[in-house]
């Protein structure tokens, strides 16, 4: 059996376990509410957003509905993967797995892919449902490129949070620490990042929260590259010609690459040194 095939088999086992677990059944209503639910809400023809704005393209509706991904899907990714390693460590299974002649890097890759797939399967299914909802409500389809970017960037942000949760799981000796770390990272980037942006703006002498101030918009745009949620929105904004926050598309994709590679590398390194 080739290494790749072995990795995919182990990943498939993790995916199957997680998809049939009770945890996903608990999270499904949340995902339903946050993904197609938000798409339904933002595609209302009579909706008026703050500032009197009305979304007028399918991609714009999907962009606003991506709030559901940021709040719901990423949290579910953390909840799905927070005990990916710590549970096995607590039960002694980690030692059994590490004693198998499968390189630890391969085991780490299988772990990442298995957990990412287990959350991406329902997320992609519901994203597809969201697109159908938007079409039903607005009568518009997103273009193929828009759809690809939307799916890819959503996949990436969910993948990043899966990586964070697994990384936390390798460091935690018990479940409580693992979930606290995973949820803590999610909370920081989802809720507290605005505070960080504000503080940096204040320290830089930029007028805080002035949506029409180019300096504020540029600063917020650059700082968002340091947040996975920010990068996610930058990627989506590449398909919104009316939005310009001073960040080039290549910068967004480069940041996405770094957010993918660095935690991936860190997790592989952790797995190499992991003591059961």
């Amino acid at each position: 059996m080739s290494d790749l095939k072995r990795i995919m088999k182990v990943a498939a086992r993790i995916r199957k376990e997680r998809l049939s677990g009770i945890r996903l059944k608990i999270m499904l209503p949340i995902l339903l509410l946050f993904l197609p639910g938000m798409a339904w809400g933002f595609s209302d023809p009579n909706i008026v957003l703050p500032g009197g704005h009305q979304p007028d393209t399918a991609m714009e509706v999907l962009f606003y509905a991506s709030l559901g991904v940021v709040f719901g899907a990423t949290m579910c990714a953390v909840l799905m993967a927070f005990d990916g390693v710590s549970k096995d460590r607590a039960s002694g299974m980690l030692e059994v797995r590490l004693a198998q002649p499968m390189p630890r890097k391969h085991q780490a890759t299988a772990l990442i892919l298995g957990h990412a797939q287990s959350i991406l399967v329902p997320v992609y299914a519901l994203l597809f449902a969201s697109v159908l909802v938007v079409q039903y409500r607005t009568g518009q389809w997103p273009t193929m490129i828009e759809l690809l970017v939307y799916a890819l960037s959503t996949g990436l942000v969910v993948f990043w949070y899966t990586l964070f949760a697994l990384l936390a799981s390798t460091s935690a000796r018990e479940q409580g620490t693992a979930i606290a770390f995973g949820i803590g990272v999610w909370f920081f980037f989802t809720f507290l990042w605005a505070l960080v942006t504000t503080m940096v703006a204040y320290a830089s002498g930029v007028a805080v929260g002035e949506a029409n101030d180019p300096a504020w918009v540029a600063l917020e745009g650059m700082l968002d590259l340091l947040s996975p949620n920010g990068v996610y929105h930058h990627l989506l904004e590449t398909q919104l010609p009316t939005v310009d926050r001073g960040v080039h598309a290549w910068q967004s994709w480069l940041a996405a690459l770094l957010w993918t590679v660095l935690p991936w590398w860190a997790l592989h390194r952790r797995m190499e040194r992991l003591v059961p």
């Binding site: 059996m1 072995r6 088999k9 182990v10 086992r13 376990e17 607590a90 039960s91 002694g92 299974m93 030692e95 059994v96 797995r97 590490l98 004693a99 198998q100 002649p101 499968m102 085991q107 003591v275 059961p276």
Partner: protein, 344 residues
């Protein structure tokens, strides 16, 4: 396989693994230093032999087994193996050759026994036929569709040993395998170990309960504070440490049993309403003669093995009080060195 024919299959030379323990400094709070572990250990494992690795809690038994299983890295020293009829060769990945059964794996969940083993088999590329054979070998074939949550402790241990045997290992490491087993399950487990040894597998069993290994092991290794104090065939180590020829003689009635043997030779003496017992470290013949001369009512005499504390006292040259049974500190005490002849 008889001991005389046994050949070494795996050799560890001056291997070391010391745990990294936190040693925070003001400007480097993440700093670590080398703590306790295994230091300069050399050990040969023989085909078809069962080595009992004994030592108190914190002696380093689990660390040594994890190192031998390839789970912990060997920081210093070398490992050579002689598998598949080839000559001695450096071993890069021990996990190819060694099966490891960790202490107390909590198999849990709705996964079935067969699925659990198959999942591990995927990591090795083990065939389904092999998995079925293993389940039969460990006596779990009739339970293969049972959920892990429904298994008894004995069955979980059997599943653990099946997992360790997935790769048809030349060396099998069992970490405290008797923990939590009732006597019936323990005997069944011991029988399984004997079967594997008879097929040429080199088995290493760690335990802090020497009595559990009685009749199962043919070699013994004494581990204390990360160092192997002595290792070899059971009788040889006993002889080297002056622990051979111990007998317990029992009888009924109230007699002055202490008068049957010189005071220096008496290791233990009990007297109660049911009778008496005397453990001596000499040939029982003279004791039996003295007892018969005193018209004592003898009921039995049998050889006895030393217990863990006696082994360690003899190997370290320290008293019971001096031997700390706490977790070893990073300071490695110099131990009494015991010569091991090359032909062992």
């Amino acid at each position: 396989m008889g001991l005389a024919m046994a050949e070494p299959v795996l050799s560890f030379q001056s291997v070391q693994h010391r745990h990294a323990i936190p040693a925070p400094r003001l400007f480097k709070p993440w700093a670590k230093r080398a703590g306790p572990g295994i230091v300069g250990l050399s050990l040969d494992l023989y085909e078809g032999s069962v080595l009992g690795l004994i030592g108190p809690n914190g002696a380093g038994k689990t660390t040594l087994l994890r190192m031998m299983a390839g789970v912990l890295p060997v920081q210093e020293g070398s490992i050579e193996g002689r598998f598949d009829g080839q000559g001695w060769q450096p071993v890069d990945d021990l996990r190819q050759w060694v099966g490891h059964m960790p202490e107390q794996v909590r198999w849990q969940g709705r996964t079935t026994v067969y699925e659990a083993l198959s999942q591990l088999g995927e990591m090795r590329g083990t065939s389904e036929t092999k998995i079925q054979r293993l389940l039969a070998l460990v006596g779990l074939r009739s339970r293969k569709d049972e959920a892990l949550d429904n298994l008894s402790q004995g069955m979980r241990q059997r599943l653990s040993i099946a997992a360790a045997l997935l790769g048809s290992p030349k060396v099998l490491l069992l970490d405290e395998p008797f923990n939590g087993l009732d006597p019936v399950a323990a005997e069944a487990f011991a029988a399984l170990v004997r079967t594997l040894a008879s097929k040429g597998v080199s088995v290493v069993i760690s335990s802090h309960m020497v009595a559990q290994l009685e009749g199962l092991i043919d070699r013994i290794g004494l581990l204390h504070r990360g160092q192997l104090l002595d290792e070899g065939p059971l009788e040889d180590v006993e002889r080297r440490l002056g622990l051979e020829g111990r007998y317990t003689i029992t009888g009924q009635g109230e007699v002055d049993a202490l008068s049957f043997a010189p005071a220096d030779d008496v290791l233990e003496h009990h007297q109660d309403d049911d009778g008496w017992s005397l453990t001596v470290k000499q040939d029982p013949q003279s004791v039996l003669s003295a007892a018969m001369k005193a018209e004592a009512n003898l009921t039995s005499w049998a050889p006895v093995r030393p217990n863990l504390v006696e082994w360690l006292c003899a190997a370290t040259g320290m008293s019971v009080d001096d031997i700390s049974l706490e977790v070893a500190s990073s300071a490695m005490l110099p131990m009494r060195s015991v010569e091991v002849s090359e032909d062992e």
